[in-house]
Symmetry: D2
Subunit: 338 residues, 4 copies
């Protein structure tokens, strides 16, 4: 950590800061320049991070040197993590496609949707039983009944299922039925929920918060890992910016950063990134070309009848075509598709 | 709602959309122009909002006409809401000051902090027993013990207390001790938590999500109101933008919009908006000048020893001076300070 | 255009608005609903756009129906535009690579840089003679001398050159030497400069403003086209958001939108989008996978000695490898590389 | 400057960096920690800033210590600058109000507008002769004729006038007529234009770019100052964020930062910050409460007939009322109004 002092800092103020640092059993190095005096502290930034040095008289700014996460970092874990969901490996050489409707829409429906997805060539089925909706008057999901339908869909098709959990009270129930737990964008910093899924044995698909920085995204994964669950998949899904033509702004640029900093696999969500079905395939291609290990995409046999998110949901023919294009792309990158 | 059709829309597509609208028992009006055909639907936008018209072939875009919230709107409730917390009225003519440290730091400490705050002239005491922290390795709060200390602080000083609740499982416990429940910025769209506090009888201080639009902010209040709890105070606290000199970007501009659209009172948080204690008083003045009914500010006798957020915490002398300045400002605006 | 009236609008106010619209020789349609009355005007939005309807008593909001641009739109020009720069076609089936250092660094240097770029397989050479720098104390470019060096580099290598023009007074001079004029991100709304290059016969590479919406980006192209110059290439280069790990946020998501709305070709800039050389190749891949017709990338034989932007500049080996990877990608997308 | 090295940096790489720094005649200090080695360089950051240290093998990140501006800084010029425009002092104790329509609308009109503004109590008149418009089909201003009308309006009323200059070729002409030159938000980084007004003797009102950071804003002022013109007024005018209810997001929070870092006065623009006339007065109050030395506001006798920006333009009665409220506010802050 580096502490930059104000130009008019007094010797008394410097002495106070130095003694404060020593009281933490760390050694400060004071360097005096023409314009500024700075104090360098090499040591455990976790201890330092908790100290409000900026609150001390004479301090102009504080600059951390280390990134705040550890367990998710490639520095502490150089080998890439491969997460298994059922028989599917995520983070290995093959690109993985997760597809399905936004919401579980009924028992017959969800089975038909899973069959469509399987036939198109996807490896994992997605559908929401609990739906976090912006409006209290919107459909909130089938809940436990929806989980049971999902289990039926798995039985019928053999596809593992991923579904969202939005409440720490529901984690035990959801993990009974699902093969992978999804943490949604609005819950990326619901820390008690992160702790609960961190105690689960099921893999976790962690969506990026809609305005989360990369550091915050990785710190949320760190929460889960710190509870013992190593099976985490990071899911970029677009971020909120000034641009309003698309629902969010495609964040394909985070993929190489995450791959550089962390050992965790990346599955990206082009549907929420764009919010408009015509642009979803191009977004999926961009994510994979940037290095993602796969995509999670909203698909429905008849998007105009989807209970939610129909405007960003691709249909069966589009899914088939997308998977074919992703396969070609994967092979051009010396990867393959599952 | 207005549906704009693509320039090359076919008659068949128009007929399909029209019949879809009629099946919802609504009446569409089709207007043909030189460049575009549009369909206007005057009626219940709640029904329309659930329909993914953008997913239908021939549709270019959909433009809602009504705002999505109701109970929080001045259209359905023209009189301004005044919320009582203990003996303090929020939303009436007098400006209210809520102050205290970020976290409950111990029994003796919290009593001393409440006494400091009372002496400086604030009307409500704040301190967190549950702390949502970006890092799993940071101090997470005293929990229930902290709530008990808060109750002691109230006994000693007579000040009502507000404290954050971050988990739906804790609402019953927190409302036993607190006079007002705070929903933090990371939980503004934790809908299950909103539903729980919506069933509480205690007032709720709802912080704006760090990248929430005004519509989303009011929809979260709508969640609480839809459960029966009318005692809601909206709390702008800065938003996340490209500017990184300050922790967030001061969002004083939302105050007149909220006051125009909603009947709910506004208490703003200049500490999180700026993140740097030297700039907190100017931010507090800006919020109140823009029409806020008061502020919630982090204050601590010795900010450099604060357990968290010390860099944005003002000290006792600054709090006294700020309250004096806010009093003058309030009177210049034909208001007063409590 | 749709005008939404306030719930308490009076008949007199409605009459006033209606007569205002009729005075523009347009026909308003008034529809009364339960919650709102709206006025629909089908007709020339250019006339309407200039009218401040929001300023009129009784008006709640105004919703345009048509997009504001015309000449750049596929509606008025369905065929894709192919721009020729020297012998290179931009916007045809083959992906084009433009490469070179940020700045012209001297006569010998620029020739060596162009030779490196040619050898690596790029088709067009880039280097700046005029440098818009954030600081007045930074190197501002070689100016006219730099243009002459560029012409030499073209002679030596046969590669066409693109270089930035930053002042309307320099357009005549720059077009004497350059094969394509670049409008930089800070000048995307320097309308007088746009008008000048609009009168030029040379192709224009128009960079997206760092916080420009897609509509504004296309309106700036419209400025150039409205002066008669049809040879415009749109250049996404990242946008400014809250994320600060990368210099900008990669805007690969605009590519499918631009391709849908406009007939103009797209060359994207992964160097400025990321700002960190290690992430530039992944960003280039993402842009092309999203549908871009090529990339413009900063390359230098020895980035640590580059006069500017060294941190985001790839070296010769990285350029060779990137072009090879882009070739494979192009072929996987049924395109090719020049 | 601080250079953080990668965890796997080699001794050879460290030696190379050290010799590079020494070749700049600066002295590096190498500190080895458990997790990272860092190199501190205390000295002239201007020299360092030009070096792309991030491009060198082994470097993880570079952290500057000093802010990049000098002449605009309070460190080099502790006394506050007061700028005189005609007889009006900007930056002294009295709050200043600049008002007028967006555009010069004709000779008679501009005189009537200036009279209205004077009668309402404003001290300086504003109106644009050159209008930077997003669309090439919108009214672009009266140009030189408009400047002459402005001079007439000054003669008639005695009010000094401020008007925008958008082209380096027009600076000589505009300064013949105007008392203060305005640099608009789209030209904040039109560096050649900044250099031209930097050579002028007339005061410059520099608007913040719509997505400019505070550092960039001050660096643009530095450009002007570096050419010899010390009479600069900084003008916050809202920034672009994800919020789209208002035209921009009110940036009142930059006022205390600018006042802390720079000696230059601040006049803020609430009209463009909000974009909706009903919210302009609250925004003006917020800016002044945050410490601004005055405001520049769009006002017109009949906003619905304004040639541009009518939706954000207040009328005569609103201007009178606003100035009265600002006067009360100023006195409550121990200031006054001119």
């Amino acid at each position: 950590m580096l502490i930059v002092l104000k130009p008019d800092v007094t010797q008394e103020e410097i002495d106070h800061i130095v003694s404060k640092i020593r009281s933490l059993k760390l050694e400060p190095y004071v360097s005096r320049g023409v314009h500024r005096t700075i104090i360098t502290i090499i040591g455990d930034e976790d201890v330092l991070r908790e100290q409000p040095f900026e609150a001390i008289a004479g301090v102009e700014s504080v600059k951390p040197i280390l990134r705040p996460f550890k367990l998710v970092s490639r520095e502490t874990h150089p080998d890439r993590t491969v997460v298994r969901v059922g028989d599917v490996e995520i983070g290995a050489n093959k690109i993985v496609v997760i597809a399905g409707p936004c919401a579980v829409e009924g028992e017959k429906e969800v089975i038909a949707h899973a069959q469509m997805v399987k036939k198109a060539g996807a490896q994992i089925f997605r559908a929401g039983a609990y739906k976090p909706r912006t409006s209290p008057y919107s459909f909130q999901g089938f809940g436990e009944k929806g989980l049971k339908y999902l289990a039926k869909a798995r039985e019928e098709t053999g596809l593992p299922v991923v579904t969202e959990v939005i409440d720490p009270r529901d984690v035990a129930l959801v993990e009974e039925y699902a093969d992978m737990l999804q943490i949604g964008t609005r819950n990326m910093q619901n820390f008690n929920l992160l702790k609960e899924v961190g105690k689960s044995k099921k893999p976790v698909l962690l969506k990026r918060g809609m305005s989360a920085t990369i550091n915050e995204f990785l710190m949320s994964a760190e929460y889960i890992l710190s509870q013992g669950n190593r099976n985490i998949i990071l899911c970029p899904r677009g971020i909120r910016t000034f641009e309003d033509v698309t629902r969010n702004t495609l964040d394909a640029g985070v993929v190489p950063v995450i791959k550089d900093w962390s050992h965790l696999p990346v599955i990206a969500d082009p549907s929420h990134a764009m919010g408009i079905k015509a642009y979803v395939p191009a977004a999926a291609m961009a994510y994979v070309a940037a290095g993602a290990d796969g995509i999670i995409v909203e698909a429905h046999p008849n998007p105009e009848d989807a209970i939610s998110d129909g405007q960003q949901t691709i249909d069966s023919a589009q899914l088939v075509s997308l998977i074919e294009r992703l396969g070609k792309l994967a092979r051009a990158m010396d990867r393959d598709i599952a």
